[in-house]
């Protein structure tokens, strides 16, 4: 019996993903995050109604992997670009996909204001505690003491401050309806992450305001450890600094069944 017989099919490429192999490094969780978003788009049947906004960072080519319309923003400006699209096309689903350098450093003003306005878009925020694309420099989310190519003796908080907790910050904005932190370091967390992504898109569907899902992610290449160790590193080192949890869920969203 062919393995692809419908009866045997337990896993396939979501329709919302293109049939292109990604350029991501082995063990990087960008691919998982992409897949979760694509599965949600499939389940909600919104692929043809969705416009994604790619960031500057390792996921700059995300648009190649999603089978929906996509634009590519300047570094940090994805929320502003998404605002322009959403305001003109309010009945489309608009989401940004951003790394921590993009969202929490150069794009801090844009992300805070898009939340303050309660812009009805969905933001998927990939926190890997490092600048991946440029080769592993310190990010605003780099942990105290963490070695990077621009903090070679470890992040010195006296000189460079502390990691920024975006899910908590965004939860403080009145325009935010949904702000949560999840992780991609094991299958249980991945399932929770998917549910959160689904909720964030449902929030948009119901016009309930701004929604962001922060996802703790790995960067084995720039962390200089194996994919397996990276997953452990997230659990042991990142989760204590970036606690997983729900930082804001508007009451009306609690009742959503996803």
């Amino acid at each position: 019996m062919a393995i692809t017989a419908p009866a045997n099919l337990v896993y396939s490429r979501p329709e919302s993903m293109t049939n292109i192999a990604t350029h991501y490094c082995p063990g990087c969780t960008h691919g998982i995050a992409h897949r979760l978003i694509a599965e949600v788009m499939d389940e909600m049947s919104i692929r043809e109604m969705t416009i994604g906004v790619a960031p500057v960072g390792c996921s700059v080519f995300a648009y190649n992997y999603f089978n929906c319309d996509f634009v590519e923003a300047a570094h940090g400006r994805a929320p502003a670009m998404a605002t322009g699209i959403k305001r003109v096309l309010p009945d489309r689903f608009v989401f940004t996909y951003q790394g921590d350098g993009d969202l929490a450093s150069i794009g801090m003003a844009e992300i805070m204001h898009v939340a303050a306005r309660g812009e009805n878009i969905t933001v998927i925020f990939i926190n890997n505690a490092i600048y991946g694309m440029t080769g592993g420099q310190m990010a605003p989310t780099t942990l105290p003491g963490q070695k990077t190519t621009s903090s070679p003796s470890g992040r010195d908080v006296e000189q460079t401050g502390y990691p920024i907790r975006m899910a908590e910050l965004i939860a403080n904005m009145e325009g935010t309806s949904y702000s949560v932190r999840r992780s991609l370091h094991d299958h249980k967390q991945i399932r929770k992450a998917k549910k959160a992504i689904r909720t964030a898109f449902e929030v948009q569907k119901l016009d309930l305001g701004f929604a962001m899902v922060e996802l703790l992610s790995t960067c084995p290449t720039n962390w200089g450890i194996s994919p397996q160790e990276s997953l452990q590193w997230v659990d042991e080192h990142m989760v204590p600094v970036f606690p997983l949890g729900d930082y804001k869920i508007a009451p009306i969203i609690r009742d959503l069944r996803v």
Partner: protein
């Protein structure tokens, strides 16, 4: 339409509304703010999009996003704000999108002041954001022309998938004059084949300015240049005044061009054979027209509200055939017609020093004049 007494900024805003602008994103800055304020009530009233952004950086990126959907979209600002927009403008150029930007230029550099200036000629005409591209630049010298050029800007932007900057100065933005507004055009119901509006029943589309493969970027640069060549062939605009028999040619744009026009008229009344060329497109620049005038004129006088930024374009076109003199006022000071008239008298009566940078002589004269 009847003529009404209109303020430049409001006139440009309403002209854009009537040209079918569907979305406006901006940030307050003098001397442009009335444009944003007009949009803040006018666009919502028509069911269109107005949003005050958190910065010019955000504003231009909102414009970028909206432009990707294929609608008519614009922003407006003044010099410091436009500096902040340069990154976004470059991305828009690289993605080959039509966008209209109105820059009501003020005194600079730095925070400068809020008085009329032409100090941003180099930034807007020759430069701007990074990378290899051109913006079409239109320079109005009256409220009526500001209206007409705003409407034209949308047509040119769409025709060439290009950025069109209406570069006014604080004077054009702030002054009130009788002018006629255009009829209200319907907003678009069809969108270009590149527009990103959701992949319903078609392949997904991508709009980007990144071409990692240098050969692809080279092709993109060539495509942009080819379009620019067409723009140069078809869209150069200028006004000529008393040039037929002119032995002396004054060149000025915007408010400086208008002041120069008064001076040229007075000089004609004195019997001086002088004419005026007023470029309307600063990019593409009327190089050929200036070169042609260099065959007939004894000398040129360039008048600007900066230290001689367009002067260099004129010198390029004149190519040393005849002397090119310069007169400018700076920092937000607008020259009086009498000052320009004195310069016309000087170049038509006195021998002109050759082989000297005209700016050096002008600086000496100006320093004595204002001391």
């Amino acid at each position: 339409m009847p003529r009404e007494l209109l303020k430049g900024n409001v006139a440009m805003a309403e002209a854009a509304v009537r040209a079918g602008v569907e979305a406006y994103f901006g940030y307050p800055i003098t001397p442009q703010t009335e444009l944003l304020e007009w949009m803040s009530h006018r666009l919502p009233e028509l069911g269109r999009v107005f949003l005050q952004a958190e910065s010019e950086v955000a504003a231009i990126n909102m414009v970028y996003g909206a432009a990707c959907t294929g609608v008519r979209v614009m922003s407006s600002s003044s010099s410091p704000g436009v500096s902040l927009m340069m990154e976004g403008i470059s991305y828009i150029a690289g993605t080959e999108l039509p966008v209209v930007l109105i820059d009501v230029v003020r005194g600079g550099p730095g925070l400068g002041n809020i008085a009329p200036s032409q100090g941003d000629y180099n930034q807007i005409v020759h430069g701007g954001g990074h990378g290899d591209y051109h913006s079409i630049v239109l320079a109005p010298s009256s409220v009526q022309e500001a209206i007409d050029l705003t409407v034209l800007a949308f047509d040119l932007a769409e025709k060439y998938q290009a950025i069109v900057v209406v570069m006014a100065d604080g004077n054009i933005g702030q002054m009130m004059e009788p002018a006629e507004l255009p009829p209200m055009l319907p907003i678009k119901s069809e969108y270009p084949e590149w527009a990103v509006r959701g992949a319903k029943g078609r392949d997904h589309r991508i709009l980007t300015s990144i071409y990692m493969n240098p050969e692809d970027e080279e092709k993109t640069n060539l495509r942009i240049l080819e379009r620019w060549n067409k723009i140069e062939e078809n869209e150069i605009r200028y006004r000529e005044y008393f040039l037929d028999d002119a032995e002396f040619v004054v060149i000025g744009y915007g408010t400086a061009g208008r002041v120069a026009f008064s001076a040229v008229r007075s000089a004609r009344a004195e019997g001086i054979p002088v004419g005026l060329l007023r470029p309307i497109t600063l990019n593409p620049y009327p190089f050929a027209k200036v070169a042609e005038l260099a065959n007939q004129a004894h000398a040129f006088l360039v008048v600007e509200m900066n230290t001689g930024q367009m002067l260099q374009d004129v010198q390029l076109a004149v190519a040393g055939k005849v002397p090119v003199e310069f007169y400018g006022r700076l920092g937000g000071v607008v020259p009086y017609p009498d000052e320009v008239l004195n310069e016309i008298r000087r170049i038509s009566h006195e021998p002109i020093a050759v082989g000297v940078d005209p700016r050096r002589n002008w600086m000496q004269r100006l320093k004595t004049e204002i001391s």
